[in-house]
Symmetry: C2
């Protein structure tokens, strides 16, 4: 069991237009100070996500709760958005059979369906609530601060439905995942005696998938969360070294940052060749975008733009742009060595050349061939790329990938010279929304909102 | 019924860092020559997609076939990738109830589920085929050339399964959507007497959603395809004018191109505030990326990078980057004026400020407020954006949006000085795959493949 990163195609020895080998070798020194700074943050207790893989208490809290409710629910619904939604979605897609919510209970080994309300679109929420058997549904309200407008709106609607169905609200069929002390949900939980699992105070939303935010939904649908944490811990240990060449997260972060700074490649594509991992790429997009898209202390805007793609599918969509468009991209493939299932392609139509060569191969072979062909074609055209190879899509490897990207994000934050753990840029939009909704404390924002230029009829069609 | 584009926030009169108004006004002249060039292509018959909204023959072909098989199938499976897959997926998500494949037959008014095999992942395909009742499943094999490896591999596997289940292959439960004359599937259809609908020779894959490629799947699941074509035709007629200020597709294309060329904003985000439209953004990504990511005749690589986002969801993911990251983006919102369903948010917890302000509002109001707040916040921070507003998500408006983006792509192709209707960049990867699979005509590619640098153990971790 291991996770390998091959970045030969990022270096100019293999790919014209890659990073010069001496420059890459020299970056090992710079990495030592990045590593030291991140270690300092870890030691200070600021980066709680480093400790999650070995946090027995949170694991036990999760396992105890999910064991307690086992068999009681047909549907689990996560109320959450952003970091509270992307992790659970990624784990469901990666680690449960295809199309989990559409298959029969027996095929789910009796585990419940898992829905994630990651938006406030009334058509989606209305349709879902109308078809659930509320008595057999568990709602998991996930918000660290309890201040997330979308999640709180969802909660108020669900709470009323549950109350109507049961003739009163006693906190039934509801569990919170929130800050252990602070925030708006904790006092509600205490007052109404609602179960509440913890997001440690030093774990931010987009780094929380290995806390109960991701563990609880995963455990409820039968994913081996202990194996996931073991894989994450294995990666954390591999990243203890300050020797760049031996640190997978260090290599990933340093390669991306150098590609951005030295080669102006500021669009970072993540392209798994596996349907199971497609939503992990969306989870990565949030992690990389929201952590690194920042204004530096001197006022400079920085940050790479992550892009999710899926192989082989996107060979027929985005790859034309990756091959011939501006040389502003790196592509990171995720290749899967062993597939749980394979299908052989039968031979037929020997007279049709477009069909006959496929016979005798298998789909696992085909998708693997296509990944290597695309990497090779990009390399041949001077387009740097790298490949993360995993043995199989299972909890151990997915836990490892998660930790790899999270630690890389911490390193990249230091390299970009920004705070990777806040998101000040979204505050103004929130305030403008509060202003329109008449929230009492948004008076200042309302003045700024009212002063914005009005739509100009000249610029409308 | 109409589609409005408000681009006030793209112009410097409203947004610092927007396009200068005089420069924008002057571009109307340049647009006239772009418009004339595209009209010339249309007149020459090269751009078949312009004629699809009024092609009664293809509409009848589609309606006749879907009427003929009505009630016969519980599941429809599209075998296809890229342009053959993204359109049908977008139409299903936009125009059928949420989670179509997971709801009961009665809620689908008896129409079949619609699965789209847009990849060659054996785990997905194996899982799906294992659970279908093959006798009650229709397979739609969509490939213009019949040379798409992924689609042909899917077809060979499905064909064998159907043959085994029925004791022989007679082309049962299968329909092709392919070129009227050429390609590998047409002779198979003739020989084996398989029904085959047409993709006109002058309609390319990513411009084919209004041909039977999209119409047939849509009609099979009960979407009003005639209304969709009517909406598309309305937009086509609006774009007949060479007066830029009156041509919605012209404005969209010219704004994006000028933002790229004059303001170095080469990342074009499309962000609908509607779960129904999330997959339309993926369809747009292919259209914009594969059409415009090209090498100009002089060897220069050009093309914007499209990015799909979803509101309000991505306010908690990518919006931090859009607000504070490099000023390399435009954001196009799609706002929906009327929602088919709304849910009011009940008042509760008057003592909790994070919850109390929400009571009395509705989800439709909230998602609308959030869209305007995000647009306003971007504008206030000097980040250009525009909003396409539609009355509702229905076939007419979705047809109109599709035509708007397709015509804009034709204009943008001329502005970028490239051929928007080919995809030469993906050929090398295909050849490298053929070489590994031992296809007889790939000898040249095999030599280039074998000569690629091997993975370098120094650059692995």
């Amino acid at each position: 069991m291991t996770i390998r990163l091959d970045y030969s195609n990022m270096i100019a020895t293999s790919v014209a237009g890659g990073l010069k080998a001496p420059s890459w070798t020299r970056s090992a020194k710079e990495f030592r100070s990045t590593h030291a700074e991140v270690q300092k943050l870890v030691a200070s207790g600021a980066l709680g996500f480093f400790g999650l893989p070995t946090d027995r208490r949170l694991l036990q809290q999760t396992i105890r709760y999910s064991a307690e409710v086992e068999g009681r629910y047909d549907d689990v619904v996560i109320l959450g958005i952003g970091g509270s939604a992307l992790g659970p979605i990624a784990l469901r897609t990666a680690l449960r059979p295809y199309s989990w919510n559409a298959i029969a209970s027996a095929q789910r080994s009796g585990f419940p369906r898992l829905h994630v309300l990651d938006n406030v679109d009334p058509e989606t929420i209305g349709a879902l609530l109308d078809r659930l058997d509320l008595a057999r549904t568990l709602f998991v309200v996930t918000s660290k601060s309890g201040g997330t407008a979308e999640t709180m709106a969802q909660f108020l609607i669900v709470r009323e439905r549950l109350a109507k169905a049961a003739g009163g609200w006693t906190g039934q069929n509801t569990v919170f995942v929130t800050d252990p002390e602070k925030g708006a949900l904790r006092p509600v939980a205490r007052k109404e005696d609602i179960d509440a699992l913890e997001i440690p105070a030093n774990v931010g939303g987009r780094f929380s998938v290995l806390s109960p935010v991701g563990l609880l939904p995963a455990a409820l649908i039968g994913i081996d969360v202990a194996a996931m944490l073991a894989g994450a811990e294995d990666m954390r240990v591999r990243c203890e070294t300050n020797v760049l060449a031996k640190n997978p997260a260090g290599c990933f972060a340093m390669l991306q940052w150098m590609a951005d700074r030295k080669l102006k490649k500021n669009i970072h594509v993540l392209m798994p060749y596996s349907d199971s991992l497609r939503d992990l790429a969306d989870w990565f997009v949030q992690l990389w975008a929201e952590s690194l898209g920042k204004i530096q202390p001197d006022g400079t805007s920085v940050g790479p733009t992550p892009l999710a793609a899926l192989g082989a599918t996107d060979q027929h969509s985005q790859v034309q742009l990756f091959m011939e468009g501006p040389k502003d991209k790196t592509v990171t493939f995720i290749a899967v060595r062993n597939r749980a299932v394979d299908l052989s392609i039968p031979a037929a139509y020997p007279e049709v050349p477009e069909l006959s060569y496929l016979g005798g191969h298998s789909l696992a072979e085909l998708i693997g061939v296509e990944q290597r062909a695309t990497a090779g074609a990009l390399a041949a055209r001077g387009r740097p790329n790298m490949t993360i190879e995993i043995d199989r899509v299972d909890p151990w490897h997915v836990g490892g990938l998660i930790m790899l990207f999270q630690i890389a994000t911490a390193y990249a934050g230091h390299l970009y010279g920004i705070d990777a753990f806040n998101q000040p840029g979204v505050e103004l939009g929130k305030q403008f929304a509060y202003a329109q909704l008449g929230r009492a404390d948004a008076e200042g924002a309302r003045r700024e909102w009212d002063a914005l230029p009005k739509p100009d009829p000249r610029w409308q069609v």
